[in-house]
Symmetry: C2
Subunit: 348 residues, 2 copies
């Protein structure tokens, strides 16, 4: 079969399997992509029926790989490599490993997806740690990416250097720019500002073949100054969660305030277009998902709250990410790095 | 004179000396406090005239300490101890040192205020590093404090332990609670989550005489879970600036969206009460300022954008902070700590 085929974790996300299956149906209708739906076959079949796919799903470009092993809240991410080897996300990763799928998409537990991806596909040669990137909406309407927001705490400077290279390759793919601007998240713009780790990373990035623009501050996370912002996973996690919860808190307070009396309610109705616009600014479902950077294969994770459109877009990202061989170009940049690193990596 | 007297840096803040002088006039009219206005005498006199204080300012409880040395953007904070010893904020700190004022208030450069305070007043006995706290508005309408948001990067665990103790003493004073809830900013609630430093600080705080509630995540910065959130100065700076800039960006985008057409403009007019309310949530001018915690004396810093009300409130905070001897109780807690610390401080 010449058609590119992707594996989709049908059991991942808040509305599984509804949103995932609906998104897969949209994706196969919109492009010549095949999707293997991984999860509980009866549930998936029932959902396919509701989405107007009855009879043999193969005629629609879909197939089902059955498993009913579920990752619970109490399971460690690493269980996908041990007691829960047949969890849907682990089956997805194996389908990629076996060459039956060109990549996989999951909106399930991110830690489990990372464990399944690394355990089955491995890391790109030379990569210390795979990283997770997040989209940050920018005041000018675009997006930037922040990495690592995964679990790489206490990152030494040479991990940050690799995050910069992997983030830049991803930004080239994502934004279609040749020289994405790469900054280090720090406490001041000057090279002397920051902690020991960012100062050492600053020196390292000056001799790294990326478009390094220096330090960016917390206030620049939404200012459009950088396309790629690198940081230790501890700082990235806190900045991202801080931003998400502040935005949610503000929307909630606003909504409550606008419902207080009839005059305000009418006002809110007249100006609701503005509210929809601002909520759309933070809506990254267009991008649909984010690859696990540094994994030796196409592994795209989605937000747990992903709707069908987000899943369809994530499948589109996976397809293009595979077709454009971003894993291959990243591998080349990482190899190149080992040749050009003039400053020896320091550990703080 | 029995009246409590405070020194005010009249040259600090975005609208100097207007807001500072106006705030001082309000403060002396509202309570039996004396204020020494430190800065360029002609400018201060002119401003006093505009505020209805003509003739001898002493009759209004005000006096002027002249200096026209100004800290510029290019000056290092430490210049207040060397080439710019007569900068207004340094004169303020000396007035406290000499016993002519019970404390000082400044809305100028925070680094310079810290340098002037530490250089002239010293640290509380046993304190490794003074810390700067910031107010975080909470979804339930209250505030929490986050520290350190100053320059204490690469803080070892025992610095965090002291931040917790100093923050708790301040929270008792500020919120009038007996056992403020103290958390560590980390990447997960469980004790094993975080980086090496927060994990060691977690152990240390378990045996520290504060009401330690464990780790709090980035999403809990505005949830009302903790009264005092401690972190390394690098992380605190980034979280605070991230939050400030996101809130500003959201307000700006909202405003722009509401001005797009006539219908939205009318809607915005009808519902403007809600917007005023939400902007008020983030308005910490009621608290007016924040003490430099760990400094051996009363040194209150204000936001550069402080208006007259914020200055008046900051002078009120300084007065009560001095009267209630929070520096003394903090000293006692820090001494106590040296006796009770069961777990030896680890350095990461």
């Amino acid at each position: 079969m010449t058609r590119l085929t992707l594996a989709l974790d049908a059991m991942g996300g808040d509305h599984a399997p509804y949103s995932a299956v609906k998104g897969a149906v949209q994706a196969v209708r919109a492009s010549d992509t095949g999707v293997i739906l991984v999860g509980a076959e009866p549930d998936i079949r029932a959902e396919l029926g509701r989405q107007g796919v009855s009879g043999d799903p193969a005629s629609a470009g879909l197939s089902i790989e059955h498993t009913d092993v579920v990752i619970g809240m109490g399971d460690a991410p690493s269980s996908v490599l041990r007691s829960k080897k047949d969890a849907s996300v682990a089956v997805c990763a194996r389908l990629v490993k076996e060459g039956r799928a060109a990549g996989f998409v999951s909106a399930g537990n991110t830690g489990a997806a990372m464990a399944a991806a690394v355990g089955n596909l491995g890391r790109i040669e030379g990569v210390h740690r795979p990283a997770i990137a997040a989209y940050l909406p920018q005041a000018d309407g675009g997006f930037s990416i922040l990495l690592d927001v995964g679990a790489n705490v206490d990152s030494p400077p040479d991990w940050l250097q690799q995050f910069a290279v992997m983030g830049a390759e991803y930004a080239k793919f994502l934004f279609g720019v040749d020289r994405p601007r790469v900054g280090i998240l720090s406490t001041g713009e000057e090279r002397g500002k920051g902690n020991e780790m960012t100062k050492a990373a600053f020196e390292l990035l000056e001799s790294t073949p990326v478009n390094f623009i220096g330090n960016v501050e917390g206030r620049d996370l939404f200012s459009g100054r950088a396309d790629v912002i690198v940081c230790d996973g501890f700082v990235g996690n806190i900045a991202l969660k801080c931003a998400e919860s502040l935005a949610e808190t503000m929307f909630r307070l606003m909504k409550r305030g606008l419902m207080k009396n009839m005059m305000r309610k009418i006002g809110a109705l007249l100006s609701r277009g503005a509210f929809k616009e601002i909520q759309k600014v933070a809506d990254y479902s267009e991008y649909g998902g984010c690859p696990l950077l540094g994994v030796n294969g196409v592994a795209i994770i989605c937000h747990g709250r992903s709707n069908a459109k987000a899943f369809a877009n994530a499948l589109g990202v996976a397809r293009r990410y595979a077709e454009q061989n971003v894993v291959g170009t990243t591998r080349a940049r990482i190899l190149e790095l080992q040749g050009t690193a003039a400053v020896p990596p320091r550990r703080s």
